[in-house]
């Protein structure tokens, strides 16, 4: 590690030359450490677990004093060392030392400016938007039956969560008691909760394996993201959604034919309008096989798909995929929630997509420019309500499945999303938290101490795919049960009856404009 003020040049003789020029010195960091570490030396047994667990090199043994010490300035607050310390000698907390309080210039602003003054780079971050933007889920209340339309107990009565993903025909014909209309391809899932796109490359092999196996066990789908499908994971094809994004990594006919659904990724809630960039350091041997690019090269996903500059071009790709898969699987189109999402969604439906995915601005990412993650896009609640409304007004909502993602944190968020008009939801961040993620937001460094967002074999083996699968299955089963309880409370016994049923929602602490966009009445009204 380079010490502050150390001379940049590696040439010893040059270093000894005096006087030194200002340009010889590295730029010193003026940043306050983000976290403070307290080590209880009475409890510390110097076992070095903390040293081994931290990929950021925070803890070290001071040989002279025979003590374990730390460099708090390198700590990312992931809490791995705290959890694994056998004697619970460590506490990591937000550094109480802050710059002088200022109503306009928060400590975060000051730190960010310093970081850019030191590097001149684009500030990167991981996970979803962490700002205090209004979370409309928290301002919507769910209804329940009292006396009339009695509530239903899901423990004694059947409760239907099965959801069909795909497009619907305008009408159906029944002849001699049998369906005479050829239905477009549908995927049946046992719960309206799907795992959203997280590529192998962004996350470790074991984490994607756990997601795939959990999807198999739950009867739902996982999504490869745009990084291709590892050869070992073709066996999960009956529960896979494969993505086609601007980088077209690992996209070939066999890949497209090894999935229940193909998703065209136009945008992502965490970084609408920009592309992706998997740094060469993360393109390991296995990632290279999956993405089909050489080891160590940058995997650049351009901002647009260069064959899609219009809705007509989008139609061209949708049908290219349908031709390649012989019209056997639904094709979905995923966009980030942006201001004109309703008009775009209308175009997507008219372009022939079977599924429209809207990803809100609290959606996660392995790497995004911080300024874009925090300032571009819309909360999913508003975008979803606006898209559903627009498609209904145009009389085309019935044609497609709508999936909402980006900031779904609990089963009640799922219920509210479906009542606002979604058929199903995508969960990404919640799934990774189930696997051990603590939202330290350093995914882009590739040094995830929890073994999730890393390709370093030493770190990646920390996710036991078997245990992670069980945790994911537990989470989705728990949520599904809670959804049944809430449905029963509303006197509804099928998730289909909740879809777009906004009368089951009321808004609290919302302006009349917000209520109008959400299409719900105020609480008490």
């Amino acid at each position: 590690m380079k010490l502050q003020g150390e001379i940049m040049s590696g040439n010893k003789e040059e270093n000894q030359r005096l006087p030194r020029k200002a340009s010889d010195f590295a730029i010193r960091s003026n940043r306050l450490p983000e976290f403070a570490i307290d080590r209880d030396y009475e409890k510390c047994i110097k076992c070095e677990v903390c040293i081994r667990q931290c990929a950021f090199g925070v803890h070290y043994r001071d040989v002279e004093d025979d003590l374990i010490r730390h460099r708090a300035e390198d700590c990312v607050g992931c809490q791995r060392c705290v959890v694994l310390c056998p004697t619970k000698a460590l506490t990591v907390r937000v550094n109480p030392a802050q710059y002088r309080a200022h109503g306009s210039w928060s400590s975060e602003h000051v730190k960010d400016i310093n970081r850019q003054a030191e590097t001149g780079g684009v500030l990167l971050t991981g996970s979803g938007n962490d700002k205090q933007a209004p979370v409309y889920w928290d301002k919507m209340l769910i209804n329940a039956s009292q006396v009339t339309n009695p509530s239903i107990d899901p423990l004694r009565e059947p409760m239907e969560l099965r959801t069909f993903i795909g497009s619907r025909p305008e009408s159906i014909k029944v002849e001699d008691g049998a369906l005479a209309t050829k239905l477009p391809p549908q995927v049946s899932v046992e719960t309206p909760i799907l795992f959203s796109a997280i590529s192998y490359g962004a996350i470790s092999y074991n984490t994607q394996k756990a997601l795939a196996e959990a999807a198999v066990e739950l009867g739902t789908l996982f999504n490869t993201g745009e990084g291709g499908l590892h050869p070992d994971f073709y066996r999960y094809k009956n529960n896979a959604i494969v993505q086609v994004a601007s980088g077209r990594f690992g996209v070939h006919p066999e890949y497209l034919n090894s999935a229940r659904m193909v998703e065209i990724k136009i945008g992502q809630g965490a970084k609408p309008g920009i592309g992706g960039h998997l740094v060469g350091e993360k393109v390991s041997e296995d990632v290279s096989i999956t993405r089909m690019i050489p080891v160590g090269t940058d995997a650049i996903s351009p901002a647009p798909q260069h064959d899609i500059y219009s809705i007509e071009d989008l139609r061209m790709l949708i049908f290219a995929i349908k031709e390649t898969t012989n019209y056997r699987v639904p094709v979905s189109v995923k966009i980030a929630a942006v201001h004109n999402a309703p008009a775009i969604a209308s175009g997507i439906v008219r372009a022939g997509a079977d599924v429209v995915v809207i990803d809100g601005f609290r959606g996660g990412t392995g790497a995004a420019p911080k300024v874009i993650r925090d300032s571009v896009g819309l909360p999913i609640e508003l975008a979803l309500a606006a898209v559903d409304e627009r498609l209904r007004k145009e009389g085309i909502r019935n044609r497609v499945t709508v999936i909402a993602g980006g900031g779904i944190r609990s089963s009640s968020d799922v219920v509210k999303a479906i009542a606002l008009g979604a058929d199903a939801v995508y969960i990404g961040t919640a799934a990774l938290i189930a696997c051990g993620c603590t939202l330290c937001q350093k995914c882009y460094t590739g040094k995830c101490n929890w073994g999730i967002a890393t390709q370093d074999p030493y770190l990646a083996k920390r996710v036991n795919p078997d245990i992670a699968r069980r945790r994911l299955v537990n989470l989705v089963n728990g949520w599904s049960h809670e959804i049944k309880e809430m449905l029963g409370g509303m006197g509804i016994n099928s998730i289909e009856s909740l879809r777009g049923n906004r009368s089951q929602l009321r808004g609290m602490d919302l302006t009349s404009d917000e209520l109008a966009v959400l299409g719900i009445k105020p609480a008490g009204g």
Binding site: N257, D307, A320
Partner: protein, 257 residues
């Protein structure tokens, strides 16, 4: 032999029906499909995955007479397509394996994101040719353009080879393309004929033509001549310039960690 050959009159047939007929013919054992009166039908050759095992598709030939629509041979994985006429946009989009030869000119995004196979265009091609083309293992796509191309040739190119012969340029007329190789981080573009420094994207540099390049160029020049039945003038490898990316990691310094 005649059983192997199936001729389909494409006039008035909707593209998905036409492509389905091609697929059925291949499944029934046809190895050469001749499509007559093609007029704008898209995705020819795209739906053949699984019609035979994928190595079996390598021997399948599709002959197209007329003007096929967009995305000719998109996701192509094995067959050879020869077009007697010009083609529209997206030819060989994300193709994996096979060969496409165009006896005419090609539209925009020819060879977009291709990972393997060969595309020969007798005349010129449109915008964004070979954009984000890549290579992997033994897969190394090659695009040969007889004439010139429009802007953004080889943008974001991550692998593969583009050869632009400039045969239709007269005298000192420079190539039409600007922003050549912008964001390029792999592969090589060989251009014959006049190209001005301002036409070449930043991050791209001229590099030396090696002995391996020479044999590659000789091979593809003779292939071009053979496929299109053209006696090409005596072109030597030293009449090309070779453009390669300066860095495999063009955006390495972009971020603050």
């Amino acid at each position: 032999m005649t059983l192997d050959r199936v001729e389909i009159d494409a006039s008035g047939i909707y593209y998905s029906d036409l492509n389905q007929r091609v697929r059925e013919a291949v499944e029934r054992g046809a190895r050469k499909i001749v499509l007559k009166n093609v007029f704008g039908q898209r995705y020819i050759g795209t739906n053949l995955y699984g019609a035979l095992d994928s190595d079996g598709l390598v021997g399948v030939e599709i002959e197209v007479h007329g003007t096929p629509g967009n995305d000719l041979g998109a996701f192509l994985d094995g067959p050879a397509i020869t077009v007697y006429g010009s083609v529209m946009d997206g030819t060989g989009n994300t193709m994996n394996r096979g060969r496409i030869a165009i006896n005419g000119r090609a539209g925009d995004i020819t060879g977009f994101s291709a990972r393997g196979g060969e595309i020969f265009v007798r005349d010129s091609a449109g915008y964004r040719v070979a954009i984000h083309m890549k290579e992997y293992g033994d897969k190394r796509p090659v695009i040969v353009i007889g004439g010139t191309t429009q802007d953004f040739l080889g943008e974001y190119m991550a692998g593969g080879v583009v050869i632009v012969l400039g045969l239709n340029l007269s005298g000192e007329e420079p190539h039409y393309c600007s922003h050549v190789g912008t964001g390029m981080h792999g592969g090589a573009i060989f251009i014959r004929g006049r190209i001005m420094p301002h036409q070449i994207g930043s991050g791209v540099g001229e590099s030396e033509i090696t002995a391996a390049d020479e044999s590659l160029l000789e091979h593809y020049l003779s292939e071009y001549g053979r496929i299109f039945g053209i006696n090409i003038p005596d072109i030597t490898p030293d009449s090309f310039i070779k453009l390669t990316p300066i860095s495999k990691r063009p955006y390495k310094q972009l971020y603050a960690y």
